[in-house]
């Protein structure tokens, strides 16, 4: 026992000396490792560690080793602000990677603006965040829906029903669905916005049948809403009414839904594990070596991977990790060969120009990619947000109406 303790002390001492010996760059991470949101948070954090390891293996940032100061937000909003403050005031971080929900991003965004530290938000979301220090590597609702609605109306028909969660991700997505439907000459025949705790979807399924749509745009968030897809299929509606989504699969819902119910569901996102490219094959090989093959990699994990690499590329380009220089480098039209194709950071909107994939659920709880829309623009964000011309803007834009 004493020997083991001694050995532990030795290794601890060694690791302390080895970390202080070379100069380090600290980056912060706050993700939900426990609680209801850890379905996303654990993978985001894993992706961050993997990206940092690959950057360090390639020589680090400006020759310096990158170390992570990580926090578990426990799926609680108050923890985000608390740890963000700690990271800024105590840890001396050069960049922050954090957040899943839009509420978590909005809670901590002002802290990094105030401290002038580049902050990376890596999740698909409703769109519209605009802030000099904030960089978004997930896809926005308008980015996904613009290609998906086009595809859905062409393949299923013009009568659309919306099933979405009752908070800003759902309602803003609903706005875009209305807008794109109008542009395409289609019609929204009904909509239902649901609380995240609803488990019984019989009323929604009746209303869907009463309005007789060609396609349902379903945006289920969380475990309970995933049950909607199962109940919809069990009612025998899946064969006559198409189902499309911008977030089905983002939390590996295709694993939870039974193959019978999941086969044929269509989702449009910025990443699916079945993307065919060398960069993705390399990424997946590294991931599987580190974390195994138990759960498929979600889009949010790739968004974090991309964020860390974009930051490292910017810091290397700037030759420093000073915030102003790194932000200037990030705004220089940086591109990165990502697992989900080439991504470009838009200088004005701080959002990513990236491929959007439309994929169909197969019979083995996986996805088959059926269409790729290369280099899709974050249209709405580019339109409303130009941080080159207006560097002082700090807003969360929402479409009118």
């Amino acid at each position: 026992m004493n020997k083991t303790l001694g050995a532990l002390c030795m290794t601890a001492a060694l690791s302390i000396t080895s970390t202080t010996a070379s100069a380090d760059v600290k980056i912060g991470a706050i993700f939900d490792l426990t609680g209801g949101l850890n379905i996303y948070g654990i993978q985001q954090d894993n992706a961050l560690d993997l990206a940092v390891a690959s950057i360090n293996a390639a020589g680090g940032v400006n020759g310096e080793n990158v170390v992570v100061v990580g926090y578990d937000a426990q799926s609680e909003l108050s923890k985000y602000t608390q740890f963000a403050q700690t990271a800024v005031l105590r840890d001396g971080i050069a960049a922050m990677f954090a957040g899943l929900t839009s509420s978590s991003r909005e809670a901590i965004r002002p802290i990094f603006r105030e401290a002038n530290i580049p902050y990376f938000y890596s999740s698909l979301y409703e769109g519209g965040a605009c802030d000099k220090q904030t960089f978004v590597t997930g896809s926005s609702a308008s980015q996904q829906l613009s290609v998906l609605m086009d595809w859905a109306v062409e393949n299923y028909g013009p009568r659309i029903y919306i099933m979405a969660p009752d908070y800003n991700f759902g309602t803003i997505s609903g706005h875009w669905i209305h807008e794109y439907a109008e542009q395409l000459g289609a019609e929204v025949v009904g909509e239902d916005y649901l609380a995240l705790s609803v488990t019984d979807y019989a009323p929604t399924i009746q209303k869907i049948q009463a309005s007789n749509p060609d396609v349902v745009v379903a945006l289920p968030v969380g475990a309970a809403q995933t049950g909607f897809l199962e109940q919809f299929a069990a009612a025998g509606l899946k064969d006559s009414i198409g189902v499309v989504s911008t977030n089905y699969g983002s939390g590996n819902q295709q694993v939870v839904v039974s193959p019978l119910a999941g086969e044929g569901l269509v989702s449009a996102m910025g990443y699916f594990p079945s993307v065919e490219s060398d960069a993705n094959a390399e990424f997946l090989a590294a991931w599987e070596e580190a974390y195994g093959t138990d759960t498929p990699v979600v889009a949010g994990a790739v968004d974090v991977w991309n964020a860390v690499h974009l930051w490292a590329a910017a810091a290397n380009k700037a030759g420093t990790t000073d915030a102003d220089d790194v932000i200037a480098a990030l705004e220089s039209g940086l591109t990165f060969e990502a697992p989900n194709g080439t991504v470009t950071l838009e200088p004005g909107s701080h959002h990513l120009r990236q491929d959007i994939y439309i994929a169909r659920g197969d019979a083995n709880n996986g996805f088959e990619i059926i269409a790729t829309f290369e280099d899709s623009e974050p249209t709405y964000e580019n339109e409303v947000c130009n941080l080159i011309d207006n560097p002082d803007v700090a807003e969360h834009f929402t479409p009118e109406g």
């Binding site: 009752d166 019989a202 009323p203 929604t204 309970a224 299929a233 025998g236 939870v256 759960t295």
Partner: protein, 288 residues
């Protein structure tokens, strides 16, 4: 309003009420017979769901997985009663706090054991037609399951020796002890049965609500409110409350939106508690 739509709404609202009743009955039994509010009830339901899921994953057919889930949750329930609940008899708020904490522990244990994403077992893809509307068979079958469950608990309480002892212990505790009923053993059994009912609910609802570590939360609030509104007459009170609140919310959701359905649920709860502060069954003469 077409007749077929009306019929579908009625049938599926009855099914919603039944699902609520199935999820709540264990809580109601423990509250009615022990005066303990088990805030880990939702987590027992989750344990039942994962037990059934694991049983099907090792190759057992689903109908056999259900008794395994019941046995598992009854065992855990008995252990929890012996280690925790027993020490806190008569301290309602302390038991609530203790069971709430227990729920958190269960929740996190499930994350550690099963991870955050587990494959669902799927719902039988049977459906039937009423006019222009198609309905899944399985959720409708829950009406029957709820009725059988109620009948079972009623039989257990009225026609078995355990049932008589349990009722004696809650209605006349001192007299029951005086004639030699070991009320603490009866209580262990009652808590185990309540947990077993939760486990049964988790297993039987597994095709409708996939197993996730935090699934208990979905039932915790509405189940708790149903039991509080029902009051001291556990069985009949809960059945009527589940029918009124759950069914009413579902009808409202069908004609308006799901959010208004939830609003109906909570407004009715507030209204009923204002009208009957001790629950709707406080002045009833029947005891079950």
């Amino acid at each position: 309003m077409e007749l077929d739509f009306l019929a579908t709404v009625l049938l599926s609202s009855l099914s919603s009420a039944s699902i609520l009743l199935i999820a709540t009955l264990g809580l109601a039994v423990v509250y009615g017979l022990m005066g303990v509010i088990n805030l880990a009830h939702g987590e027992f339901l989750m344990v039942g769901a994962y037990s059934a899921l694991t049983a099907t994953q090792i190759g057992l057919p689903y109908p056999l997985a259900i008794p395994i889930a019941v046995a598992m949750t009854m065992l855990i329930g008995a252990i929890v009663e012996l280690l925790i609940i027993r020490k806190l008899y008569g301290r309602l708020f302390d038991t609530m706090l203790a069971t709430w904490g227990l729920g958190m522990v269960f929740n996190q244990l499930a994350v550690l054991i099963f991870g955050t994403v587990s494959p669902g077992i799927g719902m039988p893809q049977w459906n039937f037609q009423i006019g222009d509307y198609s309905l899944a068979v399985y959720p409708i079958a829950m009406i029957f399951v709820a009725a059988v469950m109620l009948a079972f608990v009623y039989f257990l309480m009225t026609h078995t020796v355990y049932g008589m002892k349990a009722r004696a212990s809650i209605q006349e505790p001192q007299m029951a002890q005086a004639i030699g009923i070991d009320s603490s053993r009866v209580n262990t059994m009652t808590f185990a049965i309540g947990s077993g009912l939760a486990g049964f609910a988790g297993a039987i609802l597994l095709p409708i609500i996939p197993a996730t570590p935090s699934m208990g939360l979905f039932f915790a609030v509405k189940g708790f409110l149903t039991v509080v509104v029902a009051g001291p007459v556990a069985l009949t009170g809960s059945a009527i409350t589940a029918l009124g609140l759950g069914g009413g919310a579902s009808v409202t959701a069908s004609f308006m939106t799901s959010v208004i359905g939830d609003v109906f649920f909570f407004l009715m709860t507030a209204f009923l508690l204002w009208l009957y502060p001790l629950g709707i069954s406080a002045k009833w003469r029947r005891k079950l």
